[in-house]
């Protein structure tokens, strides 16, 4: 433990760890020292001079090395001038005065100087109302300026840094928080200062502009209204917004968010979501949120929202009552008996999935999870131990990332793993191609697509990397499904688990296996007993299928064909999809913003989300619909209260024992202190007041014996001559139903691509940017050629959810269609 130092701030004795700067030490004691450039998550720079305070230190006799005493008290020598509190670290016996006339005058002058060219935009500025400069001017400003109004600089007001973030050059006070966030926290130096002196300005150094998926965070920590988002531009004044705690549904990280809502005329007088803000949870997302989580929420307000139950009549979906719709479906499902299939995805909450699984079990049907990735049973066995916090991992620890491009799949995990590597953790990246993680890795392992399991098995043998992993104090493995289908990823999970067990990295905090899932609650689906099916087409053909929160028809022509051959199809979703078009009955469900529930994150943390906006149309929560349907089929399922469903779930699943909604809503103090009206310190991130969630203990931590499923050997896929091995990769901004409706992300979503090695492209006679036809499994799709010389010459990378129906590695032919676009 670091040494504790005692100092006095404004006469109050404060104890802080050695190395803490004075601003943070004061904050711990509840004393606010105004800052603009300093941020608790960034290294201090002392650029804005706002934190000027009087600092005195005990006089030490040079001869004896002892503190000089005066009237029984240590003699304090004050510095002749004011010092910046952010760049001074605490020392024993230090005396800091923050509110003396001298300090006050210094702070006043700084505000006056910062305001020399700051425009009087507050009435229309998006930051107005939650602006540190506004607040600190009120608290510490002189009220009048000695500078001449007419000499104010006139600068560009509307500079796009990227398509998501706007810069107002006049408002910028050059604190460099945004630049430092990108450099230090993210490690993507896409912003920088240009020019000098009064001409200093923030510029984007990347093409496309502000090329980072964390760009939205800079608007949170910007202490003025210089950086604003396209999404929230002029959308509402901050004080008019209602706030409700929620959890992000875009990836398995489970970032804590706050949904800001407001009644809006443009939306026909409804209360709508105006923006998504991060909510502090130091063990999950700290105070950050990726741009997908921040901007992709628009799907919940899409025009394609289903608002009422529908029944197919004369080949047309027509409005029906809930009673008629559920009765119709129940009759067909009851008739089907063993042929009743529930197909649900990890887009649903734990309670929904639990009711669905119960329905399938009691009605004698099967519950299938809609997913291309396996191993959730393994993560339940040897998942990360209770108390895991990647933010605490560092020197002596090891993190292995295998078959996952985390920057694209789970950006906040990428960020936290990167920071763990910064703190000294050994990062091992095993991936067939270069990813953005490589730059921070100590060891990079390249393997051919198909050799994932062998690569992980090799790590349990002797070797430099293997030894380092085995000897690490703590070790976590992240595994994904890049280049893998269901079978491949299931095997990979077992291989990873075996490695962790052999190296004794299981059953403890900061040790274990994490699956980088495709959907937010995939882990939750595994926990309640859903399992994916290797041969999904066969499992759906001729059955009575109840599809919930999934779009198999839109995803794959093969599944579409299988479903057209199904006996009966009931679809339950929030949006109109290709699957609802072929359905016999459609149930309109509520979006996560309209209801309560819980999700289980990839780290197996169960977290609550709350209802933020009123219910749209005649919709019901998924678990209620299942309950109504169940009653019609003679199965009694809880459908009145979501917390009661959770209680039943907690009673029937071992991992969830003792959990309740109250327990999930518990909070404790977190550091840094953010969101308590002192926006100048931590930014506009919200304080967590509605629950930090509870991490489930993996079987390995409960003391039970761990039996890891054996890896099934499979023959490697060998493409024929003139064919390539098409492998699926994941893309952050894809055309999935929960991303595509966000118009402002369309530039980043782009077109479907087929990535080839330059040599392979040459052999095929295609060039970069050309439109090609890629055919496999008897289906052809189009894509634009991209070149990447880090991949093998025999593969073609195909992104998932971009219109090309790829679920697992497959032999494919690529033919050029047209000219370069």
């Amino acid at each position: 433990m670091t040494k504790q130092v005692t100092l006095s701030i404004n006469g109050i004795n404060v104890t802080a760890p050695d190395g803490t700067n004075v601003v943070d030490a004061a904050k711990m004691a509840g004393i606010d020292i105004p800052v603009f450039c300093h941020h608790p998550k960034l290294a201090p720079v002392g650029m804005c001079r706002m934190c000027l305070v009087e600092v005195g230190r005990p006089v030490i006799d040079r001869a004896t090395g002892q503190v000089v005493m005066e009237n029984g008290q240590p003699k304090i020598q004050f510095m002749p001038k004011l010092e910046t509190a952010c760049t001074n670290t605490v020392s024993e016996g230090m005396v800091v005065l923050t509110t003396t006339d001298k300090a006050d005058a210094g702070q006043k002058s700084t505000v006056e100087f910062l305001l020399t060219s700051h425009p009087l935009d507050c009435p229309i500025c998006d930051k107005g109302g939650e602006c540190p400069l506004q607040n600190l001017t009120m608290a510490h400003g002189p009220g009048k300026s000695r500078f001449i109004y007419d000499e104010k600089l006139r600068l560009d007001k509307l500079v796009p840094l990227g398509e998501l973030i706007w810069l107002d050059r006049e408002r910028c006070i050059q604190c460099a928080r945004c630049i430092r966030f990108q450099d230090e926290v993210v490690g993507e130096s896409v912003l920088g200062f240009d020019e000098r002196g009064r001409s200093t300005q923030i510029v984007s150094l990347s093409d496309p502009g502000f090329d980072s998926v964390f760009s939205g965070n800079t608007t949170d920590i910007c202490p003025v209204g210089a950086l604003t988002t396209t999404d929230f531009r002029f959308a509402a004044r901050p004080w008019e917004l209602q706030a409700q705690a929620s959890v992000c549904t875009q990836c398995p990280v489970g970032c804590n968010t706050t949904i800001n809502t407001r009644r809006e005329v443009k939306a026909g007088g409804d209360i709508v979501v105006k923006r998504i803000m991060p909510r502090q949870n130091e063990e999950v997302n700290e105070i950050w949120l990726c741009d997908k989580g921040r901007f992709a929420y628009h799907y919940v307000e899409s025009k394609k929202r289903l608002t009422k139950p529908l029944i197919r009549k004369d080949d047309k979906l027509t409005r029906a009552s809930w009673d008629a719709a559920t009765k119709f479906a129940a009759e067909n499902f009851s008739k089907a008996k063993k042929d009743f299939v529930v197909l649900a995805s990890g887009r649903l909450a734990n309670e929904d999935l639990f009711n669905l699984k119960s329905l399938a079990d009691h009605a004698g049907g099967t519950a299938i999870m809609y997913s291309d990735m396996g191993g959730g049973d393994v993560t339940a066995l040897v998942g990360v131990g209770q108390g895991t916090n990647i933010g605490k991992m560092g020197s002596g620890d090891a993190i292995l990332v295998v078959a996952s491009d985390m920057y694209q799949e789970a950006p906040i995990w990428w960020l936290r793993v990167k920071q763990a590597a910064d703190r000294g953790a050994t990062l091992i990246v095993a991936n067939p191609r270069s990813t953005k993680m490589d730059r921070f890795a100590k060891h990079i392992i390249r393997y051919a697509y198909g050799d994932e399991i062998k690569t992980v098995n090799d790590l349990s043998k002797k070797g430099k990397i293997a030894d380092e992993f085995a000897k690490a104090k703590n070790a976590i493995i992240f595994y994904g499904n890049e280049g893998l289908g269901l079978n491949g990823s299931t095997g990979l999970a077992s291989a990873c688990a075996t490695l962790l067990k052999e190296t004794e990295h299981i059953g403890k905090p900061n040790n274990g296996l994490i699956g980088v899932w495709g959907r937010a609650n995939d882990q939750g689906a595994w926990e309640v007993g859903f399992r994916p099916e290797p041969d999904l087409e066969q499992a759906l053909k001729g059955k009575a299928v109840y599809i919930v929160g999934a779009d198999p028809v839109g995803d794959s022509p093969a599944l579409a064909k299988a479903l057209k051959g199904a006996k009966f199809v009931a679809v339950q979703d929030i949006l109109e999809t290709a699957t609802t078009e072929i359905a016999d009955v459609v149930f309109a469900a509520q979006a996560f913003t309209e209801r309560e529930g819980t999700y289980t994150s990839g780290e197996r943390r169960v977290q609550r989300f709350y209802a933020a906006v009123p219910v749209k149309g005649d919709t019901k929560p998924d678990f209620v619909i299942t309950s109504i349907l169940g009653r019609q089929m003679g199965v009694i399922l809880e459908g009145s209260s979501v917390s009661v469903v959770f209680d039943i779930l907690a009673n029937s699943l071992d991992a969830f024992t003792d959990l309740s909604y109250e327990k999930l809503a518990e909070v404790h103090d977190q550091w840094p202190i953010v969101g308590r009206g002192d926006m100048y310190y931590g930014g506009t991130t919200y304080e967590n007041m509605k629950g930090l969630g509870v991490q489930l203990a993996p079987t390995a931590q409960t003391g039970a014996t761990v039996r890891i499923p054996k890896v099934r050997k499979e023959a490697a896929l060998r493409p024929k001559e003139k064919e390539l091995l098409a492998v699926p990769v994941n893309k952050l901004y894809d055309r999935g139903v929960t991303v595509n409706p966000a118009q402002l992300l369309h530039q980043r979503i782009g077109e479907a691509t087929v990535t080839l090695h330059p040599t392979a492209a040459k052999k095929l006679g295609v060039v970069e940017g050309a439109l090609v036809k890629i055919s496999f499994d008897g289906v052809s799709s189009e894509g634009v050629v991209k070149l990447d010389d880090t991949i093998s010459t025999s593969v073609a990378l195909v992104p998932r959810s971009m219109g090309i129906a790829i679920r697992e590695p497959v032999a494919a032919s690529v033919v050029q269609l047209g000219k370069v676009k």
Binding site: P119, P123, I124, K157, F234, W239, E240, E264, V265
Partner: protein, 173 residues
């Protein structure tokens, strides 16, 4: 008390009436045909003002709504473009509504307005027959224009309006 005393008192009273009828100025107004002018600081129905060129003064900042103690004002803003310009700054009120059943005519909105766009006028003749009518919308509150060129929104040359909020020479005006 004599028998004639009441008659004398009556005569006195009538004499006073006759005196004021003949020698004092009339204070009665024949409302509604005749209207009494309001005092300079009278607070009547709100008016949304325009600049001399017809552009709207309101920038949609919602400060009036924030200041309103009766929660009577609702503002929603949008961004100006040179193709469709409502006000000289970057932002204008795309929706501006005052619920006159709630308004208490305190004038806080007027005080809060940074561009002096909302002014309590001298119109006190407000009547409505249902609640919906009591919600005055922007079209209704906005000052009427003299010529068609002054109408908003209008197309303007690019590069003329580059400020977020129009400069005010002396905000104490």
């Amino acid at each position: 008390m004599g028998v004639f005393d009441p008659v004398i008192e009556l005569g006195r009273g009538l004499a006073e009436t006759l005196r004021s009828f003949l020698f004092e100025p009339t204070v009665t107004y024949q409302y509604p045909e005749e209207k009494r002018p309001v005092r300079p600081r009278f607070r009547g129905r709100h008016v949304l003002k325009r600049y001399d060129d017809g552009l709207e003064k309101c920038i949609g900042c919602s400060l009036c709504a924030a200041a309103c103690p009766a929660d009577a004002i609702f503002v929603e803003s949008s961004e100006n473009t040179d193709e469709k310009r409502f006000s000289p700054g970057q932002r204008y009120a795309s929706t501006y509504e005052i619920n006159m059943l709630r308004c208490i005519y305190c004038g806080f909105c007027e005080d809060a307005c940074p561009t002096e766009a909302i002014v309590l006028g001298d119109n006190y003749e407000l009547s409505f027959t249902d609640r919906k009518q009591a919600i005055y919308t922007k079209d209704f509150l906005l000052e009427p224009v003299q010529t068609a060129e002054m109408l908003t929104p209008r197309k303007v040359d690019a590069g003329v309006y580059t400020r977020s909020v129009p400069d005010m020479k002396d905000p104490s005006d």
